[in-house]
Amino acid sequence: MRDKNIKKSLLLNIDLCVGCFACEVACKQEHNLPVGIRWIKVVKVGPKKVSGKLFMHFVPVHCRHCGKPPCLGVCPVGAISKRSDGVVLFNEELCIGCKMCMEACPFGALQYNPEKEVAEACNLCVGRVDKGLEPICVQNCPTGALRFGDTTDYVLQKQKRGVKNFIEHDEFIKEKEV
């Protein structure tokens, strides 16, 4: 059983996401989702020419399991809950399908299941996570763009990387000047 006080979440390294859709279909299979329901969805941004150079990024959109989930706040029947480890869960028995949560979600990550007439979202593969496994999207991400971990640690790593890049860049400029 994992320590529920450690708040792990899905982390994205956008430099590594190649838009391969493996996370989407892995999620479909794991949770047996019908067509139209995508708990994780890869959104393409661009391509766009900026200063003569083309840019394109891929962002997997999914429930962020927010600290203060706006969906939870607006649910009129208390169908949305937050576990002590931070995972936001949807109770399909209680849900009345009013879609208030979908409107409240700033990421557009929540899905409406027309067959069950309920709202759904990524549950961070709690069944797997409680067994010590990673969420299925993370297991299937070929480049390591999606990871499962502690956001604080991740941010610290990013800070270090950013500083390193900054210094290297600075040296690069100096070298050019010489």
């Binding site: 590594l16 391969c20 493996a22 299979q29 794991e30 083309l54 394109m56 297991q139 299937n140």
Partner: protein, 718 residues
């Protein structure tokens, strides 16, 4: 998901829904496959799977899968079928094949090799032709795709080195990917490129499209379609004239450097810049980066294999890899090294299932393209596909009257209208496919194959050049579907023909492939995967398997056959440069065939989880061009080809991924949900407006599918 019970099991096997052939763990509950996941112990995919592999359950249990042998009741294409027994189906095939052989000779029987389910039946299908003494093997993409790379590489180094499996991305300092997007076509290779980049490699992507992998590139060269030959020659010019090549390697291991040096003087970067639409300094910068980064890995893909100068283009790129000293070094392009004693695909097909020269030289196209088709072929035992279609239509050089078709030829082969006409002249057509496609509708008998989950075989994936593995039967074939290989052997038996003595059964065959390794097929199943040893500079002991034993910058084989022994640039036949008048009426350059990861050629459009991700055939068009034409994102548009080739509809995707003068149309589109017998094969199938007529590449017979002219205008809804 229910909890595990005593009847539950997890079977390790290997996916076959694309060339990667990833290791998978298949969860079975009460005899039913309930989950497929990547095998973390498989060196090919290391636990990951792509969408196709992850959605394989929906293929296995698809309600539209053909599960029984069928016999056509009405006219061809009328869509009326009758379920028959396997005995009746097989006996009909045998009787009809015999009839055709008696009347026209064995060369009038052919099969059209497809892919996916059928790649591993290559041996048994070839064995069938071999026992029939029939040289006519129609492999529908023999003249482009992989075989031009094989031919060009073998001309140059004797080995296949710039295709999947060879570039050692993870250890490279510079990865040069030319005309390909492995993220979409070979996901494991896409992953390795990203890992190589994470390890510090610079990534150079050369493509007319700004693809997924291009978005990660350090240098992206948006080359004008079909001018890759000029670009490669321009880079050679820079590298040779600036002395950036590996002098020691060239001195010791290459022949023809002086002639090459002279040749590339005709291609200064300033001139190449005008031809390719690339800035001169970009060409120079890329050449310098590639030459001075060591090791560098080079990968050529289909983007450079569909022009009338395909072989010389791939030759020029191969020469770049060679003279910069990147052959068979860590992080460069590695010489294949399967486990010692293992019988490779090429070994069996080329050494054991090749007919005597007088028969091999009867292949359709052997005279025109001897390096593709004849007894001296460097590319495999194939005919020239467009020439086979023409032979079906005209009876020349001989009639082809019986066909066993394993792919959707109308969707997969350029010149769909001619292909349909050609099939109309074939007396008997047997078909094998998972689903009722436009081509299956034209068959007389259908023999339903099973998926990879229902059969077993030895696997040597082309996405790794040293690992082999075992495909294990996870469940019994559904209903009356059968292992394709078993069907082949049964037909051989019923025709009273003799198989090679050492493999009378599939079991024999599996054993035969691994016997030289001192193991049994059971041992391989037990182990899962076996890799050959990693070693470098293997050529130092053996030389290169070319006539001179060296890398032939100046090709002695091309010289012998009367081709230019050195690479050159040649404009495609239908471009704004070669046909400026036509370009006034058809102002856009049409490139075709970019893939999406959810589909494998024509397979997958009926799989719900996959179709959801890419529901429509999207024509990539630049927003400025679209605006000028009054086209909005998502509009259905006509794409019309010149010279009466007709028009098809696709959905406009406004994107800056293409140059304003270029549009890109994906290939292989059909609509399984269209129930009429053509299944939408004439609506959005780009091959319906592509020609299979000459001019061809003079060496391999490739047709120019990436860089023709077209015009685009708004259509009504689909």
């Amino acid at each position: 998901m229910k909890s595990m019970t005593a009847n539950d099991r997890i079977v390790r096997t290997m996916c076959d829904l694309c060339h990667c052939e990833c290791g998978v763990l298949v969860h079975v509950q009460d005899g039913k496959v309930i989950k497929i996941e990547g095998d973390p112990n498989c060196p090919i995919n290391e636990g990951h799977l792509c969408p196709k592999g992850l959605a394989a359950i929906q293929l296995l249990y698809h309600p539209d899968r053909i599960r029984y042998p069928l016999k056509r009741k009405g006219e061809r294409g009328e869509g009326k079928w009758q379920r028959i027994s396997w005995d009746e189906a097989l006996d009909t095939v045998v009787i009809k094949f015999r009839e055709v052989i008696e009347k026209y000779g064995p060369e009038s029987v052919t099969y059209s090799w497809g892919d996916a389910a059928y790649r591993n039946s290559r041996f048994t299908k070839d064995a069938l032709l071999f026992t029939l003494n029939a040289p006519t093997h129609l492999h529908s993409d023999a003249h482009y795709c992989f075989h031009p790379v094989l031919i060009a590489n073998r001309l140059t180094f004797g080995h296949l080195l710039t295709s999947e499996g060879s570039p050692d991305y993870r250890n490279s300092k510079c990865i040069m990917l030319w005309g390909g997007n492995p993220v979409m076509t070979h996901p494991t290779q896409g992953r390795d490129i990203i890992l190589g980049k994470t390890n510090g490699a610079k990534l150079v992507v050369i493509d007319p499209r700004f693809t997924e992998i291009a978005s990660k590139a350090d240098i992206f060269l948006q080359v004008r379609p079909g001018t890759d030959d000029a670009l490669a020659l321009g880079m050679l010019n820079v590298i040779i004239n600036e002395g950036l090549y590996d002098k020691e390697f060239v001195e010791k291991w290459c022949i023809g450097f002086d002639q090459l040096k002279e040749r590339v003087q005709a291609y200064p970067p300033q001139w190449v810049s005008k031809i390719t639409w690339l800035a001169e300094e970009e060409i120079i910068r890329t050449a310098r980066l590639f030459a001075t980064s060591k090791p560098a890995a080079t990968h050529t893909r289909m983007g450079v294999c569909m022009s009338t100068n395909t072989i010389q283009t791939v030759r020029a790129i191969s020469i770049l890899a060679a003279i910069c000293g990147n052959l068979d070094i860590k992080g460069g392009n590695l010489i294949p090294n399967r486990p010692a004693g293992f019988k490779t695909r090429a070994e069996i097909v080329w050494k054991e299932l090749t007919l005597p020269p007088e028969l091999e030289n009867k292949k359709v196209g052997a005279h025109e393209f001897p390096l593709l088709c004849s007894s001296e072929s460097l590319g495999g035992n194939f005919c020239h596909p467009p020439s086979v279609i023409h032979a079906m239509m005209t009876g020349k050089p001989y009639p082809i009257k019986a066909l066993w078709v394993l792919n959707d030829l109308l969707v997969c082969l350029e010149g769909a209208k001619e292909t349909k006409e050609a099939l109309g002249n074939v007396d008997f057509i047997a078909g094998s496919d998972f689903f009722m496609t436009s081509t299956m509708e034209l068959c007389d008998i259908i023999l339903p194959p099973c998926t990879y989950l229902e059969r077993e075989e030895v696997v040597d994936s082309i996405c790794t050049n040293n690992v082999i593995g075992a495909r294990q039967k996870v469940i019994q074939p559904l209903d009356e579907t059968r292992d394709e290989k078993e069907i082949d052997l049964e037909i051989v038996r019923r025709m009273g023909l003799k198989l090679p003595p050492h493999w009378q059964t599939l079991k024999d065959f599996n054993e035969y492939r691994v016997k030289g390794m001192g193991i049994t097929f059971e041992d391989l199943k037990e182990k899962g995967y076996i890799g050959g040893p990693v070693s470098y500079k293997k050529y130092e002991g053996t030389g290169f398997p070319t006539p001179s034993g060296k890398v032939e910058l100046y090709s002695s084989i091309l010289e012998k056959y009367g081709y230019d022994p050195l690479p050159y640039y040649q404009e495609n036949p239908e471009t704004p440069v070669s046909t400026p008048k036509l370009a006034k009426e058809y102002p856009l350059i049409l490139i075709t065939g970019g893939r999406h990861v959810v589909y494998y050629h024509s397979l997958g459009r009926q799989i719900p989880w996959l179709r959801e991700i890419m529901p429509d055939p999207n024509l990539e068009i630049h927003p400025e061009t679209a605006e000028r034409l009054g086209i909005k994102n998502g509009d259905w548009v006509w794409i019309e080809a010149p010279r009466g080739r007709g028009r098809i509809k696709m959905r406009a995707e406004l994107t800056e991924s293409v140059h304003p003068e270029v549009v890109h149309a994906p290939s292989h589109w059909w609509f399984p949900e269209v129930k009429e017998s053509h299944h939408g094969a004439w609506e959005s199938n780009i091959n319906a407006i592509m020609s299979n007529d000459p001019p061809y590449d003079p060496i391999c017979g490739a047709t120019p599918l990436r860089g023709n002219l077209c015009r685009v205008y708004k259509a009504d809804e689909r």
